[in-house]
């Protein structure tokens, strides 16, 4: 067997789990299994996601990382024939309980998608959409909230002069930051990001990554990524999935420097995936 080659990644000091104490558990996943018809896409997954930290889901395509992410705001409900066993607890409540209002849940668990998907409306209306859904009508309230959200998404300076121009006129990276602004405008506790930078160029990607590090001061972030370096750069905890199973979960520094499992090591060093 060849000697183990450590990946050349630098772990930002701020995200080292040992230097900042981990937050309290916010999301608890307990023995979660998910079936598409008879096929089991997720097998018996248990893990704990902590408050105001960034948790990354990594693994090869089809390993179930995005599926698990979509369990956290029940977007899988939209797919026919999906069945879930086990529980996902957010703040102590099982979100799969029959009396849970999935609409309320999604207001608290925001999501950013792989492909930026701004509505074909103005920049302003994109950010205000979720707020209006919640009944905010006063122009001054909306104006303030839009500015705060766009600033938090590091987009305000670029778009403040054309707030009422079409969102589709923005560049890919700007569109994705607009989607982040739209998600944080409704003040969720958790933001789910499904490969948010996979369609972007390196510069736009690095801006998104900076943004994630900034946002974690206020939000709990779960990010799915296939980019190993990205996971290493932005996350505090990393979960590695393979074929629908959770192979290893722990502090990012540990996963990338001294993984406990052979499969994790092979993956993070680029032997397969």
């Amino acid at each position: 067997m060849a000697q183990i080659v450590l990946p050349k990644v630098t772990i930002p000091a701020s995200s080292s789990v040992t230097s900042t104490a981990p937050g309290n558990e916010l999301i608890g996943i307990h023995n979660l299994s998910l079936f598409y018809g008879n096929a089991r896409a997720l097998k018996d997954i248990s893990l704990s996601i902590r408050e105001r930290l960034v948790t990354a889901f990594i693994g090869p395509s089809g390993c179930g990382k995005s599926t698990l992410l979509r369990c956290l705001n029940r977007m899988n409900d939209l797919i026919d024939g999906v069945r879930i066993e086990g529980g996902v607890h957010i703040g102590g409540h099982n979100i799969n309980d029959p009396d849970v209002d999935v609409i309320e849940l999604r207001k608290r668990v925001g999501m950013v998608f792989q492909k930026s998907n701004p509505f074909p409306k103005s920049i302003y209306d994109n950010v205000a959409y979720g707020l209006r859904l919640q009944g905010m009508k006063a122009r001054s309230d909306l104006d303030a909230a839009v500015e705060v959200s766009l600033s938090a998404a590091a987009l305000w300076d670029e778009v403040k002069d054309r707030l009422h121009g079409s969102a589709l006129g923005l560049s890919g990276g700007q569109q994705q930051r607009l989607c982040i602004a739209r998600a944080i405008a409704v003040k969720p506790e958790i933001i789910l990001m499904d490969e948010p930078a996979s369609a972007l160029d390196p510069i736009a990607t690095s801006r998104i990554e900076d943004l994630i590090l900034e946002l974690k001061k206020n939000f709990t972030i779960v990010i799915v990524t296939h980019n190993m370096q990205q996971a290493a750069r932005v996350s505090d905890h990393t979960a590695f999935f393979y074929m629908g199973e959770l192979v290893e979960f722990g502090a990012t520094s540990k996963i990338f420097t001294s993984p406990g499992q052979k499969r994790t090591e092979d993956y993070v060093t680029g032997r397969f995936g």
Binding site: M75, I103, G110, M111, P120, G130, A183
Partner: protein
């Protein structure tokens, strides 16, 4: 093995430069001829009608309410027919657009794809599209007039038939039933063209399904809905068979102004002029002119629909 492969590849070393393939040439020509013939048919029909009809067309002709004898080229006009046709298709849209759009929304946004009820609805839509227009006429007579209308009269204790007789409303409803598939198919097409990511984004922000449909999906689909509506209108404007027993009148002295009035109609007028004229040569000019008016009406509508559709398709392509 090697030797035989060499043999196989030998003939292809030289390209034959000139080889006249008669069969291909012949059949390409034949199918091309078929295409040309269809275009020629269209051109001949339109040219003939325009050539004969345009001279008879005048402002007086389209703005005159004719007397009882509308076969006289000097005094006749088609204003009541234009108004009758317009009214009947407008009233039709009031019924067919809401029902058609709602059905399309159900089929694309709510219906479980494999469920039996979804398949039955789809089969019903397809079936409806193939029902002969005269059968819709019979349905209108049997259901709307003889069943709904007469029972309504009985319910309201009307002394004579008020609703239980041919009327604008019944003709419009009959046409609405007939054009339902047109609206459903066009709306569905435009709903399917909306990227699913937009719906997901809205739902992930905590919008309900209904809010997502009303605020994101339908505004996006509006041009497609419009196209469906216009296509339905243009199809209905030219149909005569469904209104024969449900509302059209041979002659009316006044314009229709109530829903239970009968009405005159452009298409039916073309039928009357061309089959019941006392002297076909004398009425030739007004006959062709009436046809031109009818064609202008349906073609303008079709043209607008095609224009909207192509603009929407371009816009959607640029989004994707």
């Amino acid at each position: 093995m090697k030797a035989s492969l060499d043999e196989l590849s030998r003939p292809s070393r030289h390209f034959r430069t000139v080889r006249f393939d008669f069969v291909s040439f012949f059949f390409t020509g034949l199918t091309g001829l078929a295409t040309f013939l269809i275009l020629a048919i269209l051109a001949v029909i339109l040219a003939n009608i325009l050539f004969n009809g345009l001279p008879g067309l005048s402002w007086r002709f389209v703005s005159t309410i004719p007397k009882k004898d509308f076969f006289d080229p000097a005094t006749t006009g088609v204003l009541p027919m234009i108004i009758g046709t317009t009214f009947r298709v407008l009233v039709m849209t009031l019924f067919v657009i809401p029902v058609g759009v709602t059905t399309a929304v159900y089929l694309t946004e709510y219906a479980p794809a494999s469920a039996l009820v979804t398949r039955i609805i789809r089969a019903a839509v397809n079936n409806l599209a193939g029902v002969p227009s005269i059968v819709f006429g019979l349905f209108g007579l049997g259901f709307f007039i003889n069943f709904l209308g007469r029972n309504l009269d009985a319910l309201l204790h009307n002394p004579g038939p008020v609703w239980g007789q041919p009327a604008l409303i019944w003709a419009s409803l009959t046409l609405a039933v007939m054009t339902l598939p047109v609206v459903i198919v066009a709306t569905e097409e435009s709903l399917k063209a909306i990227p699913p990511g937009l719906r997901e984004a809205s739902l992930a922000l905590g919008a309900t399904k209904l809010e997502t449909i009303l605020k994101i999906v339908l505004p996006q689909a509006l041009p497609g809905i419009l196209t469906g509506g216009i296509l339905a209108v243009s199809r209905a404007a030219g149909e005569v068979a469904p209104i024969l027993f449900t509302g059209v009148a041979y002659y009316m002295a006044s314009l229709p102004h109530r829903l239970n009035d009968q009405f005159m109609d452009l298409g039916y007028h073309v039928f009357v002029l061309s089959t019941q004229s006392p002297d076909i040569e004398k009425t030739r000019s007004i006959l062709f002119a009436t046809v031109v008016v009818l064609l202008l009406l349906t073609f303008t509508l079709n043209f607008v629909a095609v224009l909207i559709r192509s603009r929407v398709r371009k816009k959607l392509r640029s989004l994707a």
